[in-house]
Amino acid sequence: MRHNTVSAIINLVEPWEKLEPLTLDRPVGTLPFGGRYRLIDFPLSSITNAGIQNVMIVSPRSGRSVADHLRSGNDWNLDTIRGGLFNFPYNDLSLIAPQKKETLIHHYYDNTILFLKRSSSEYTVVMGTRNICNIDLKALLRYHQERDNPVTTVYKSIDASETEPDASVLQLTSNGMATAILPADSENVTPNENHKYAKSLKIFLMSTIDLIDILKEANERGDLISLEDLMLQAVMQHNANAFEYTGFYANIHNIESYYNANMSILKEDNFRSLLYTQRRIFTKVKNEIPTFFARSSHVKGSLCGTGGYIEGKIDHSVIFRNVFVNRNSEIKDSVIMQGTRIGAGSKIEYAILDKNVVIGPNLQLKGTPEKPIVIGKGQRIFQQKEVANV
C-alpha cells in the first residue's frame, strides 16, 4: 500500500453500560482480551498489517487507559516520522455537559476534519473495537476500488440462531450491495435462504474527500451525532459495497458475550485463526519473567500469559500476565486478568476477575455460563459473604 493511501479512524465511543463493572474506568476498546491483548489491538494490528501509518483514536473520556496502552504507538510500528497516532479524548456526547455541548454545535467534527485534511490520504477506514476480527484491510481496499459505490462496509455471515435481537445486520440486495444496517429484529430484515444474517462489523471504507464532506455537512446542520451513526447514515444514503469477512469473529456487547469470546479462543482452531496467521496481532510489549508452574500445578486447556506463578489447578481458562495462583486452588472456565492473586484452597468457576483482584484463601466463587460472576478491578475479597454481594 502506498504511503498514506489510507488513513484510519478507530472509534472508541461505543456502548459500554452492559459491560460494567469492567468498563467503569476504561472504554470498551481497552478491555483486556485473550491472555495478553486489549480489544483495540485487533483494529490497530489490522491497520499496521495493511501498512497504514496515519491513525486517529477517538476516545470517549480522558483516554488515560488508551494513552497508557498505546504510548508512542511504537509497538504497532506507528511512531513513524510521517503520520503516527493521534489521540483525541472527550468525545462521548452522552458524557458532555449541556453548556459544553452548546459550544460544540457546528464544531464537533472540526478535529476529525483537520486530521483528515492533513493526512493527504486518498481513503479512510473507520472502525470500532467491539467486533473482534483479524481483517485484511488491503483486500478491503482492493474490493472498494474495483467497485463504483462510494462506501464499502464489512459483514460476517452468521446463523440466524446466533443473532441477538439488537445486533446490527446488513440488508443486502441480490447483487450483494448493502442498502441499510438495521437491528436484526427489525421487520425489514430477514435472513437469507440459508438462514444466515449479514452481521455488520461496523467497518467502513470511503474516499477521504467524501468523508470530509459528510463531516462538514454534519457540522453545518449542527447535528451532534456520533461518528458511528454518521457512518450508518452514509450506508443508508448511498449504495454500499458489502465485503464479506470470513475469519474468526466475536462481538463484545455485554458481560456474557465478553466471557464467551474469551472462552471461544480456547478452541485451538479459533486461537490459530485469530492469533497465528500471517497477519500478526501486536500489543504493548512488557518485560515479564517466564511463568513458573510448580510441582503441584496442573494446567490444561488454557491460555496463559508470562510472569505468572502457578501452584493450583487450572482448566479451560484464560489467564493473563503476572497471575499468582496459590496451592490447592482450582480455576475452571474463567477469565483471570493481569496481576490477580488467588488464595490457597479457593475455587473459582465461571468467573471474570478484573486486573489486580485479590481473592483470599478457601473461598468459593461460582457463576454460571449464562451469568459469570464478575469481580471489579482491584477488589480484595477475603470473606465468603463478600462474594454474595458482588
Binding site: R36, F271, I289, T291, F293, K300
Partner: protein, 375 residues
Amino acid sequence: MLAIILAGGQGSRLGKLTKSTAKPAVPFGGRYRIIDFTLSNCANSGISTVGVITQYQPLELNAHIGNGSSWGLDDQMGGVTVLQPFSSTEGEKFFEGTAHAIYQNIEYIDQQNPKYLLVLSGDHIYKMDYRAMLEYHKAKKASLTVGVIPVSTEEAKRFGMMNTDETDRIIEFEEKPAHPKSNKASMGIYIFNWETLRNYLTTSFSTNKKLEDFGKNVIPMYLANNESAYAYSFEGYWRDVGTIKSLWQANMEFLSPYNSLNIGDHNWRINSKAQVLPPMYLTPTSNINNSMVVDSCYVAGEVDHSILSQRVSVGEGSKVVDSMIMPGATIGKNVVIDHALVGEEAVIGDDAVVKGTVDDIAVVGYGEVLGVKKS
C-alpha cells in the same frame, strides 16, 4: 564511566549451539539471551553508554541488541554501539585477544573520553551494581580493579586466580593454577583508569605488541609495573556458562524458585528484547510441572523440570524432562527429551529419543533436524 562488553567469544566449547550465533546471543532461561544480564546490569547501574565488541557471527547479536531500547539504553547522549572488526587503511582490525580488541576500538573510546573504563564479558549470568565497584575503585585510588568471586579449590583450576594482601591489593595473578593459593577467581570484570590503560596499550602496540590479552598480558604487566591493582569481592550469584554442562546447570538453577539470582526482583530487572507473541497455549492433554514456560509455546505433552523458550511446541504424548529448549524448537509426538539442551529452531520428529545424563548432556544443534521423515 564507559562500559565495553566483550561479546566476541566464538564459544567453541558450546559446540553445535554456537555454530551460527555468538556465545553471548545464546538463549538462556526461557526468554533471555546470555548478554541480557550484562546489558541490564549496565542499564541498572546508570551506565548509559555501552560499546559491545563482537567478532564472530554478529548477526544474531546485532538483531538482538538493535538500538538498545529494550534495556533503556537508547539514550540521546550515549546508547549502545555494536563494534565490529573492519578493514582500515592500516589493515584489517580483527582482534587477537581481549586487550587487543580494546586497542582496536580506541577511536570509539576516545570519542567518549571516559575517565574510567569498565570492561565486561558478555557471557556470564549474574546481577551486579557496577557503581559500587567504581566507588571501591575510587576509594582504593586504584589504577585497576578486578571483580573476583570465591570459588572452591577444585573450580579454581579453570579460572584466573588473584592472590591479594590483607588490603585486597593484588600481588600475584595465576592463570588456571594447579595449586591455587587463594579462592579469588577473576570474573572478567575490570575497571581501568582509561588514561593509564591507553598509555600501556598504545606503547605496546607501537613496539612489542605484547598486550593482547587482559588475563595473560595486561594484569601481569600491571603487577610487574607496581600499578595499584585491587580485587573487588562479589558475593552474589555468578555463573560462567561457557560449556554445555555449565550452561545446562545454570538453566536448571534458574528454574528453581529459590535461586538466589531472584529474577523476579522488580528493583533489578533483567530486560530482554521484547517480542510480540501470542500467549502460551496449553491443550487439554498438557501437564506441566516444576517448569518455566513463556509466550507462544504450545504444549500438548508433558513437561517436567524444564524450561521452554518462546515459540517452542511440544506434541502430544511427548515428555520433556530436566531440559532446556531454545526458541522456536518443534518437538513432535511421543518424543522423549531428557537431560538435554535443544538448540533454536531445531526440529525433532515423532518418536525420537534425545537422552543425556547429568555428566553428558545431550545437545541438539541450532536448526538441527532429528528423525523427521522426508515426505
